[in-house]
Symmetry: C2
DNA sequence: TAATATATATGACGCATGCATATAGCGAGG
DNA sequence: CCTCGCTATATGCATGCGTCATATATATTA
């Protein structure tokens, strides 16, 4: 399947909360379910609720390299199927721990974001009554 | 009040989901409540549930400059009180719209993070039963 | 055989962040 | 009186991530 990459030059200057390295836990949780390949992970991520669009391919491959170097995942070349050879990645035991660390991190992040929303809801109500 | 800045060289190489420009809506929502100053905003943010520690001072001032240049906030010098002169910032009408845009953005971000947590919860359970 | 999809990889660039540092006013204490 | 520390703002520099462009190779389809 051809993966649409919602990009294009001058995509937009509007605000968007990029989360640094959030691609990491996304890839890892997919690999925790089953071994996969870089390109396939890109597809899986695009279909998941963890992303709205397919991530940049270059970033995916670079991230996988970094994770492998850190011993979080392992790869073996798969020349069996049709098409060019591809790396099959699997999560290591250390990878499970790393993923668990990401969980608490994401929880903390949600707490902060929710902290903003709660605070904003109050001023929004104040703006409402102010207009009356 | 002296603001503790949880930093220090080699702070840590551990994972942490930094959210790009999330400082913006944090500052803006505080200014939506009441006008304030750069240094004070830093204190207020440190005490709020939107951050665990005081943000980098340099980043705060730079962000305020950028927001002012964008017409989202306005500033006037306040030489009245004790201590050095300080800029008092206020939210503009355009700032309210900008803040509203941030809200939907933060909601989308939470959705993605929650998407990860939901997915991870399932594999965590699988790991549990696997161990039995 | 030309074009497209699959599949991986790398170079270049911009930008936000983190840390260090500079400047200056003012209050407290020795 | 003079130094130290807090308040307050501002800027320089290095790093790292993400975005975009590009390169390469294989298999399928027109």
């Amino acid at each position: 399947m051809m993966v649409k990459q919602g990009k294009g030059p001058g995509h937009c200057r509007c605000i968007n909360t990029k989360m640094e390295r959030f691609l990491e836990p996304c890839l890892l949780v997919l690999l925790a379910e089953q071994p996969s390949y870089g390109y396939q992970l890109m597809e899986q991520l695009a279909e998941s609720s963890m992303a709205e669009e397919a991530p940049d391919a270059g970033l995916v491959y670079r991230t996988l390299r970094r994770l492998e170097e850190a011993g979080v995942i392992e790869s073996t070349w798969d020349t069996g199927g049709a098409g060019p050879a591809r790396r099959q990645y699997t999560l290591t035991d250390g990878g499970r721990d790393y993923l668990a660390a990401w969980e608490v991190n994401v929880q903390r992040t949600i707490a902060k974001l929710q902290g903003f929303l709660n605070r904003y809801d109050k001023v929004k109500q104040a703006f409402q009554t102010e207009r009356e």
